[in-house]
Symmetry: C2
Subunit: 236 residues, 2 copies
């Protein structure tokens, strides 16, 4: 079934007007007609079935029927990553949603070499990924920030799992208590010596190996979130 | 350092002639000059440093110097996956190499809806990914085959971890002995009822959950290989 994020309250009997883009997608692309059912979520009210009540070229109406999912929430896990080339940044954002991040934050490291980061595009990828993966929430997308400033202002009660290429060959494992965590994925050139020294000295930071091969940033993001989710998150 | 796969024996003092494509990459794109060092591997002799000895527009020569990596091998893990849209199939192939698969096999399932599978393109992606991730081997790429025939001819000593969306919410875990294994990733529409029944009845098949959300095939491939590598493979 088609699943769509809307910015509108959802409750039984509610009429939800569609934007032009939503109408194009539902009626032009997916070819839905009056009476067909769509799943809706808005990030607050869970997911609901809704029936197509009116079809237009530039809009239309859905009428909300029954709730199908209670409002959920991801674990309290942030994904911090050094932006890479555009297509891979898009993938990292998509993967972060599927893998259950609560917050996605681009961080600029010493070796980050990225074009301008488009937070609006990242938010659009978040919506699409949430529609596809069945989440009822949208992770927040943070404005890009420098890693050194991010670490300077860090709340030490949030542990930080950082993926350390120099530990290749050590067991890939994260341990600790569930609760606030963040995962930090470096750029394709790795962390600088200064960054590595700083991260190693932080009491809340846990270095983790991701196996003996060099992973691309998007692969590393999925692998790191898998480690965390199976040890401490909602995959247990 | 630039790392290149070549189809040429590698030993100290050996001259390695370059193809036109390799010369274009090394001299045109990477701007290497006589005396610069390149890392070479051929899938058999480990990895070696080599010096640029001659630069040409359509070719050139490298001279092999010292071995830097012994020949390695991945765990005996196959990745079977239902091909998806082209870009995602390319990603799955790349991820399979980085994550340490020994063999990559496209399988056609009841709900597989893919364009023609280009095994030659898959092999090119395998080479690129091996160059990038530091592997000294190239996983084999199998011709596409139907899932039912693949299972009919299966060697029961190779266990099969299949990713079962209907187990969402069960712990994500694989257990067993190391040794021959394969991972099977279904298409984005999931497995059919018939396929699910058949897989459930196979004594060598182990169903595994990949968490409570619906993952895209490329995300599922990385997550499943992470589970396997940390439990049974070379990430331990």
């Amino acid at each position: 079934m088609v699943r769509v994020y809307v910015e509108h309250p959802l409750s039984a009997g509610q009429t939800v007007p569609l934007t032009e883009a939503q109408a194009h997608y539902l009626f032009g692309v997916m070819r839905l007609a009056v009476g067909d059912t769509v799943a809706l979520f808005n990030g607050q009210d869970g997911a609901w079935d809704a029936a197509v009540a009116q079809v237009g070229k530039r809009g239309g109406d859905l009428v909300v029927q029954a709730q199908t999912q209670a409002q959920g929430a991801p674990p309290d896990l942030w994904l911090l990553f050094a932006p890479v080339k555009k297509a891979r940044t898009d993938f990292i954002v998509e993967k972060a949603v599927e893998m259950g991040a609560a917050r996605i934050a681009p961080v600029m490291t010493d070796y980050t070499n990225a074009e301008r980061v488009r937070v609006d595009k990242m938010a659009a990828h978040v919506r699409e990924a949430a529609e596809q993966c069945g989440a009822t929430w949208l992770p927040a997308v943070a404005e890009p920030a420098r890693l050194d400033r991010t670490l300077a202002g860090w709340d030490a009660s949030r542990r930080l799992m950082w993926c350390d290429e120099s530990r290749a060959g050590m067991p890939a494992r994260v341990t600790g208590d569930p609760g606030p965590w963040a995962i930090l994925i470096g750029p394709e050139g790795g962390f600088s010596q200064a960054e590595r020294a700083r991260l190693s000295a932080l009491p809340f930071a846990h270095p983790v190996s991701l196996g003996p091969r060099i992973l691309r940033a998007d692969t590393a993001a999925v692998a790191a979130m898998t480690l965390w989710q199976t040890a401490l998150g909602d995959w247990r």
